[in-house]
Symmetry: C2
Amino acid sequence: MASTTMGDLLRLMGVRELALGGLLDLPVPVRRLRSGETLFHEGGRVESVQIVRSGSFKIFHTERDGYEQVLGFAGRTAMLGFDALCLDEHPNEAIALEESTTFVLLVRDLFAYSERTPAFGRALHMLFSSALARQSEHTDVMAAVSSEARLARFLLQLSRRMAADGQSPRRLLLRMTRRDIASYLGVAHETISRSLKMMADWGLLDVDNREVEILDIDRLQAFSQGARRQTDDGSGERRKARGGVGWRPVPVPCARP
Amino acid sequence: MASTTMGDLLRLMGVRELALGGLLDLPVPVRRLRSGETLFHEGGRVESVQIVRSGSFKIFHTERDGYEQVLGFAGRTAMLGFDALCLDEHPNEAIALEESTTFVLLVRDLFAYSERTPAFGRALHMLFSSALARQSEHTDVMAAVSSEARLARFLLQLSRRMAADGQSPRRLLLRMTRRDIASYLGVAHETISRSLKMMADWGLLDVDNREVEILDIDRLQAFSQGARRQTDDGSGERRKARGGVGWRPVPVPCARP
DNA sequence: CGCGCGATTGAAGCGACTCAACGGCAGTGG
DNA sequence: CCACTGCCGTTGAGTCGCTTCAATCGCGCG
């Protein structure tokens, strides 16, 4: 494993000021997971906080009735397991959606790291903050009223993450199932299928199973902002847009509850 | 103002090990706000992180179309403005719902505090963690399908906060409007009225304008669990029970959100 | 006192859930 | 090798809960 030092971790965390103490060579353990492997279990003891180095994860909670509530999806630079710090056990479970690696920071070492490497301490604060910001993404999708708008916001979030990683913000590869997305968005999984089709028919997306290409990111953005469509003109006409030619969704903003 | 020291702050944060350095006497500024006053504006510069010492706040975001999306309600010990740390400006706004006070921690001092008072650093980590946990409360209410279940979960959250503050978990005083609650729960404000009435008729609550008394907390709890039915999943339980005793006569489940 | 806002209640229409069936694909085992 | 079984994804049809529009009442305030 060529790169498993504090310096590498700091680089991942976006720290640029690397002219610091020799602690940059401090080894930091890396964990490898195959697709489907679980990072930590719900109810498990809290021993470490982990930072995603590569791959992606699904975080979810299993309700008493067995329903699997998806809480979020984590990609590169995400911090996992931190919400458990103020509890005695993990409130949720994380599993890898693909082959992934994480930096492992033992909770008992966390504070020592911060004291000995100030840059790490500050970067940690930033990570905390962005963990909060990531959480608010969920609030953002749930704030949309229609299921299509929720899905649009979700796709735009993925797109932004791709861009942040220096990849194309247009071509998305959904590593999670429709059912996972549905749970995350708080809709039925059938609705995800239907909404994807709708948006494809409208010319916003090109959908091929898990591969989604955003064709018109501006209109998608506008659409994701839309509260509820007005029926105004030929409302009975919107059953099936043909071939995606000419028809536009025309989202009309209107006051909400 | 009798109590505005680091020691008081640590006490609020729940730190018990107060046998520490003399930095406990370090003064920490306190801010007072009247009802309706704003703690920080959306788009404002990020100068401080604040911890609620008394009172309560509404955190919200104003969308382009003018719709006010409520993101949460903060009470005693809540940390506000921290999500802005990794951004250049506040992503949301906070206003006091009643007469309130906060401890003010300048961002530029944050790290220094941690270095000089290790107990503070650790307590800060805990605060970060519980800020995350608080965020997940929103996910929790949104996970409920029916508007009544959402409202029930919301009331139970308030109840738990009351209990955590040593007050009666039964008598709630809603400091926010129905409209605020509705926005937070993602439903129409009329629905809040109707749901409250429903639950009162059911004998779960006693409602008098902003004063709500929980009459049967156990049944309320049970009621709030009405999530999405189904699943029974069985993935971990899959007994191929060949020649089995008690094989289910009905080919039940289709996995459902 | 009238104005605005919060809260309640009624009526009607639509969007999303539910139930159900089908096709495709991967893993498995005879 | 090829049924066989599960799971994922899609599509259809019917029902219902919630939104939407609307009217009314109470209350604090300039």
